[in-house]
Symmetry: C2
Subunit: 687 residues, 2 copies
C-alpha cells in the first residue's frame, strides 16, 4: 500500500489580494480613458449608454464614439451595427446593447470587427419564482430582491431602487430585456392594487435599461379576488374581468410585457377545471392583451399521475392544440420532457409544434444541480440542448433554430431562464453561479455561442485583477492565463458533466430525495405518494437491470421524436449512452461501448464524478494567488461541501443499486464511506 508521494511545492502561498464580495458581478471594470461621445438624440436609455461609455472606455484615449439611432433593415429588433468607434441601431435599446458589447470586447480583448449583431430571440426573459412574502421557490441566494413581508412590504426604499438599478444594469449588460417578477405558482394578490403599484415602481427602474416587466398570474384570480362565481375562460364575466384587469395594468405600467401562466399543472387551477383547453385559456388572456401589444406565455409543464409515462404527457396534451393559439401566445416549454434534470434529452415539443410560437424555459437556479453549493456551469447543458438535432425540418433543425425563428415563422421568439438571484451580497449564493446568469443572457442573445467563449468572457470580466488598481487595462498575463484562466475554464466546462457523473450518469434521472431536490434518494417512495413523485418510478431498478424503458417495447416515448432520431433512440445500440437509461431498461451485464458492463460503468461514472470534484478543489487551491481572498475562501468552502456531497451521491446510489445488481463495485474504485441504512434513515427522518 503506497504512501507519501511527495512533490516539493514551490508555489507562492497566501498572497492576500484585496477582498471582493462579488456584488459587482462581471461589471467590475472601473477604468476610464477619456472618450468623446457624439449622439444627436437623448433619452434615459441613451444617457445610460453614454455614462457606461464614459465610465468604462478602454479604447484609445480621447477617441470619438458616435451613437446613431437610424433605421436599417439589416438590424433586427434591438440589435445593432458595430464598428470600432460607431454604434448604430433602430432603437435606443439597440444602442445600449451595442455599448455593452463594445465595452465587453474591450475588457476581454476580443477583436471589434465591423458587424451587424442581432439577437437570436426577440424576448430574453428572467423568470423569478419569487413569492409576495419574499421567499423564493427553489431560490438559494437569500430572499427576493422585489418582495418582502412585514410592515414595509410595499414601501419603496432608496435601497430597493439602488438594488433594482444594479439588477437592471447587470441584465442589460448581457442583453436580457424582460423580467417576470413573481413565482409561476402565483398568488392572486399579485393583481391587487398595492402590488401593482410596487410593480410600477420596479418597472420605472427597469425601463431605461430596456427591461420590460411581466407577471405570473393565477388562473382562478377572477373567482379568488374578483368576486366572480367562476374563472371559466369562456364565461363572459370572466373575459371582461381579465380585459379590465389588463387595461388597469397598462394604465399603471404602459409598457407592461404580459403574463406567464402555469395552469393545470401540479395542482394549479386552469381552463381544464372548467372543461376547456389550454388554448381556450391562453387565447382568452391573449385577446385581453391584444390592444396593448402584450403577450401570454403559457407553460407546457403539465403531467398527471396517470398510467402514461410522465415524459410523454406534455407532448400528448399540447400537440393537438398546435395552430389553435393566438399569435401573441407563446408556449413555454422546459428544455427536457421531465423537469430540469442534470441531463435530459430535449422535449419533443421543440420543432414539433410548427404553427405555434414555442419558447424554451431553462433553469438558471440550480434546483437539481446542487443549489448554491455546487459549482456547476450550466452553459454546456444549455448549449447541448440548443444544438440538439430535432430533424423536424431535416438535418440542421436544432432546437435553437426551431425556436429562434430561423425555421418557423413564429410571430414571437423568446427564451426564459428561471432566475438564481436573491438578496445575497453576491446575488447568486455561489460566486460561480453568477456565470449561469451571465451565460443565460449571452445564449439568449446569441444561441450559437460556445460555452467556452462564454466562460472565457465571464472569467476575464469577473476575475481580472487590474480592475481595482490604477492601470487602465485589464492585464491577461501569460501566467494568469496558464495558471488561472485555463484551469478555471476547464473546471467550468467540465463541471456539469461532473455533476451528471456523481448524481445521475447514463440517463438516470430524478432520483433525488423528496422535496429538496438536493441529495440522493433513489429509495424514496413513501406509502401513498403518487408514484411519479418517487425515484423508483424513474430508475426502475430491479434484479434484471436498470432504466426506464421508453422504447417501443416500453412507453414508446421515442415515438414522439422525429425520424431518424426516433429509431436511433429506440435502439440501445444507437442511443447515445448519455441518454441510455432514460430510454432503456437494460441488464446489469449490458455491454457498454467501452466493453464494460452497465453495472461497472455506473460505478466508474459515479467515482469519476467524485474524482472530478476533488480535482476542482486542487485546481482552485492552486489558483489562490490569483483570486482575492474573500472569493477564494468562499469558493473553496463550497467546493469542500460539494466534494462531500458528491461522495454521498456516489455512495447512496451505488449502495442502493447494488442491492439489485448484487455485483461488486470494481475493486480499483475507492470504496463507499457511507452506510446505506444510515443514509436512508437520515433522509426519512427529514420527511
Amino acid at each position: 500500500m503506497k504512501r507519501l508521494i511527495g512533490v516539493f511545492m514551490a508555489v507562492c502561498f497566501s498572497i492576500a489580494l484585496f477582498a471582493e464580495n462579488g456584488h459587482n458581478l462581471w461589471l467590475r471594470n472601473k477604468s476610464n480613458n477619456p472618450v468623446n461621445i457624439v449622439s444627436k438624440k437623448s433619452s434615459a436609455t441613451l444617457a445610460i449608454a453614454k455614462e457606461e461609455l464614459q465610465q468604462g472606455w478602454l479604447g484609445e484615449a480621447n477617441s470619438t464614439v458616435t451613437l446613431l439611432v437610424k433605421q436599417d433593415k439589416t438590424i433586427k429588433g434591438d440589435g445593432f451595427k458595430l464598428t470600432t468607434n460607431n454604434i448604430q441601431a433602430n432603437t435606443d435599446l439597440g444602442i445600449l446593447n451595442g455599448v455593452y458589447e463594445l465595452l465587453r470586447r474591450q475588457q476581454t480583448g476580443e477583436a471589434i470587427q465591423d458587424a451587424v449583431i442581432n439577437p437570436s430571440y426577440e424576448l430574453r426573459l428572467l423568470n423569478h419564482w419569487d413569492n409576495l412574502d419574499g421567499s423564493i421557490e427553489r431560490g438559494y441566494a437569500g430572499l427576493s430582491i422585489f418582495w418582502r413581508k412585514g410592515d414595509d412590504a410595499f414601501k419603496v426604499t432608496e435601497t430597493d431602487k439602488q438594488l433594482w438599478k444594479e439588477y437592471a444594469r447587470a441584465n442589460a449588460s448581457i442583453g436580457i430585456n424582460g423580467s417576470v417578477l413573481n413565482n409561476v405558482n402565483a398568488s392572486p394578490d399579485m393583481l391587487k392594487k398595492e402590488t401593482l403599484e410596487r410593480v410600477k415602481a420596479i418597472a420605472e427602474i427597469l425601463r431605461p435599461y430596456g427591461i420590460k416587466t411581466y407577471l405570473s398570474i393565477k388562473f382562478s384570480s377572477p373567482a379568488m379576488i374578483g368576486g366572480l362565481k367562476t374563472s371559466d375562460p369562456l364565461d363572459p364575466e370572466v373575459i371582461t374581468w381579465w380585459k379590465n384587469k389588463v387595461k388597469e395594468i397598462y394604465s399603471i405600467i404602459p409598457d407592461f410585457g404580459g403574463f406567464l401562466v402555469k395552469a393545470n399543472s401540479e395542482g394549479q387551477p386552469g381552463p381544464q377545471d372548467f372543461g376547456r383547453t389550454h388554448a381556450d385559456g391562453a387565447n382568452m388572456l391573449a385577446d385581453a392583451f391584444k390592444p396593448f401589444g402584450g403577450i401570454v406565455m403559457w407553460r407546457a409543464f403539465v403531467y398527471s399521475p396517470s398510467t402514461e409515462d410522465r415524459a410523454k404527457q406534455a407532448y400528448n396534451e399540447f400537440m393537438p392544440l398546435d395552430g389553435q393559439f393566438r399569435d401573441n401566445v407563446i408556449i413555454q416549454v422546459k428544455n427536457g420532457p421531465v423537469d430540469f434534470q442534470p441531463r435530459e434529452p430535449f422535449s419533443p415539443l421543440f420543432g414539433a409544434m410548427k404553427k405555434t410560437s414555442v419558447m424554451p424555459e431553462l433553469q438558471i437556479t440550480q434546483e437539481y444541480l446542487g443549489h448554491s453549493t455546487h459549482l456547476v456551469f450550466l452553459s454546456t447543458m444549455w448549449e447541448e440542448f440548443l444544438k440538439s438535432e430535432t430533424y423536424q425540418e431535416g438535418s440542421g433543425s436544432t432546437v435553437a433554430r426551431c425556436t429562434d425563428g430561423s425555421i418557423f415563422p413564429q410571430k414571437h421568439t423568446a427564451i426564459a431562464g428561471v432566475s438564481n438571484i436573491g438578496l445575497d451580497t453576491n446575488w447568486c449564493g455561489h460566486h460561480f453561479a453568477q456565470s449561469n446568469w451571465y451565460a443565460f443572457g449571452r445564449l439568449a442573445w446569441n444561441d450559437q455561442l460556445t460555452s467556452k467563449q462564454i466562460a472565457d468572457e465571464w472569467i476575464k470580466l469577473t476575475f481580472n485583477q487590474t480592475s481595482s488598481d490604477n492601470s487602465k487595462q485589464p492585464l491577461f498575463s501569460p501566467d494568469w492565463i496558464v495558471n488561472f484562466l485555463n484551469p478555471v475554464e476547464e473546471i467550468m466546462l467540465e463541471s456539469r458533466e461532473a455533476a451528471v457523473n456523481y448524481m445521475m450518469p447514463l440517463g438516470l434521472h430524478h432520483i433525488f430525495a423528496g422535496d429538496h431536490h438536493y441529495g440522493p434518494g433513489p429509495w424514496y417512495a413513501p406509502k401513498g405518494l403518487r408514484s411519479d413523485w418517487t425515484p423508483p418510478y424513474y430508475h426502475k431498478a430491479d434484479s434484471d437491470g436498470l432504466g426506464f424503458d421508453r422504447s417501443p417495447t416500453g412507453s414508446n416515448a421515442v415515438s414522439q421524436y422525429h425520424e431518424p432520431l426516433s429509431s436511433q433512440l429506440a435502439d440501445p445500440k444507437t442511443c447515445p449512452e448519455i441518454y441510455l437509461l432514460w430510454f432503456h431498461h437494460l441488464s446489469w451485464d449490458y455491454k457498454m461501448q467501452n466493453g464494460k458492463t452497465l453495472w461497472d460503468e455506473i460505478c466508474y461514472r459515479y467515482d469519476t464524478g467524485v474524482q472530478q470534484v476533488r480535482d476542482y478543489q486542487k485546481e482552485w487551491d492552486k489558483a489562490e494567488p490569483y483570486v482575492d481572498s474573500q472569493r477564494f475562501g468562499e469558493v473553496q468552502s463550497k467546493l469542500r461541501e460539494q466534494c462531500k456531497n458528491a461522495q454521498i451521491w456516489k455512495d447512496a446510489c451505488l449502495l442502493y443499486f447494488q442491492q439489485f445488481s448484487k455485483r461488486p463495485i470494481p475493486y480499483d474504485i475507492e470504496r463507499p464511506v457511507n452506510v446505506l441504512d444510515e443514509l436512508i434513515k437520515k433522509d426519512m427522518k427529514r420527511h
Copy 2:
C-alpha cells in the same frame, strides 16, 4: 483530468457464507477427533482441561494424551511442559494453560515442539472500568457483563453465569489469570455486603478457569461507608477498618486477588488528602492483605494542574518512594507518561524504579484509538512499548525485561489491560477489537511474541472457514492465505500506524475533542478549563512551529530517561521522528530526514492515514468471499465510518494548524472536504 481507469474484475461476488455474530471469539473450533485422556488427578480445573481436549482435539484420532501435575523446577508459576501428547505442570491451571496451547497449535497448524513454556508475568489481569450501575467508563461495547442497575441488579441469573463462564473460558484460553471487576474510579458501595455477594458468585464461575477476582476501591471508603471520621491511612481506626474489610472479603472469596487503587488522581481521594504519601496509603492496605496472600496494585497515573509538565509528574512523585513499598504492593504504570495516546514514548518510571514491583497498564479499550469503530490492532503498539530500550541496566534493558523479572528481582510481576468487553453480542463492539483482547492475553503470557505471530494466530482462529462444517481440520488453502490471511494481517499490522497518521503523527498527542476522546479538537480550550486538559497545552502550535519542548531548553522531561536515550531524545536530529513533536517544538520549515519540511511532512502523514484506511476498505471488500456475511458486513460498515473519521481528522488538524503555519497543503495531496469553522462549531455545540 484523468478518469475512468477501468480494470475488468473477475472476482466472484456475493458468496453467502453462513452468518456468524462473533460471540464465539477465537474459540470457534468444533472439530473433535476422538482422544483418550490419562490423568490421575481430578479437579474442577482439570475437568475443564479434559473437556476442552475432548471437544477440540485435532491431533491423530484416538491418540492418548497424558495430563500430569508434578513439580518441576524448570516450570514457573502456571507454566507447563508440552510435548505432542503430554502436558506436565506444577498446578492444575498449568495443565489447563497447556491444553489451550496445544489446541491452539493444532488449530493454527503451528508445530508442537517439546518445550517448557513459562509465562512472562505472574499476574495477567484485565481491568474492567465497569460501574455498579452497569455503565462502563470508556466502554464501547455495551453495558457491563458484571453489573447492572434495576430491581434485579444483584440477582445472579443463569444467563449471567453462562456469560461469565464464556468470559472465563476466553480469558483462560489466552492465559489471563485475574480480573479487576470494577472501575478504578470506584464506588465505595463496591465493598458493601450485597456487592461482595455478587463478587462471590462471579468468583465461583471464574475460579475453575484459574482466574482470580480483584476489586478497585475508593480510598475514602472508611469515612464514606465505614462511619469513620477520617480515611487517613495512618489512623488506627482506619487501619483496623481495612483489616476487617479485607478479612470479610476473604471469608466470602477465599482466593481473592487484591485491590487496585486510583488515589490522588483526577479528583480521587488518597493518602495525600491527609498529608501522607502514596507509600503510606499502599502499605497500609498491603499490610491488611499480607495474611491472605493478596496484593495491592497502586496506580501511578497522577498529575495536577501545576506549572510542571504533566508528562514529568508521575516520575517526580513516585521515584522518591522507590524502595518504600511493601513487597505485596505493585505500582501500576500506564505505558506512556501521559495517557494511552495513539503513540507515546514509554513512561520513564519503567526500569527506573529498581526496588519496587512495577507493572505496565495497557489499554485494550480504544479510548483514544477510535472506540469500537476504528479497526486498530493494538499489539504493535504494545510490542513497540515492551521492546523499548530503557538502558537502565545497559543495552537490552527493554521495558519487558525491566518488568517481567528478567532484570530486577521483583517479588511480583504483573501486567494489566483495561478491558474492551461489554454486553455486545461480539463482546468488543468491533469484530477486530477482539484481536486486542486476544493480543493482550498472548503478550501478557509471552512478552517476546511478535504482533505478526499474534495476528496470524488470531486470524486463523477467528476466520477459518471449516470450523462449522464437518471436516475435522481447519483448512488454510493457498487461496485463503493469499487472498484473506495475508491482506488482513497486513491491515492489522499497519492499522495502528495508520491511526497515528490520521490522528497524531510525528509525536503529536492529546489533540482530541474534549470529553469523548474520539474526534479531533486541536482548538479545544474553553475559558477556565485547566490547561492540561486542553489540546493547545500539548501541541503548542504557534506561528513559529509546532510541538512540546521537553528538551533541556524546555520542560527537560528527557532528563527522566537514562543515558544514552536521554541525550538521543534531547536532540531533534537524533530523536526518533515518531516522537519528534512529543519532545520538541520545531519550526514549520524544520527539515525532516526525507528532506521535506515539517509542515509538508505533517500534511503527507495525515493524508497517508486517510489513504491507508481507504486501502483497508478495498482489501476488506475483496475479502468478502472468505468471510461470513454478518461479520463481513459489520466490519465493512465500521471501515466506512473509520474512513469518514480519518478524513475529518486530517481536515480538522491540517486546517487548524494551517492557521499557524500559513503554508499551503502540498498540491498533490487531496484537499480537505470539511470546513474548519463548521467542525469547530459542531464540536463546541456538543459541550
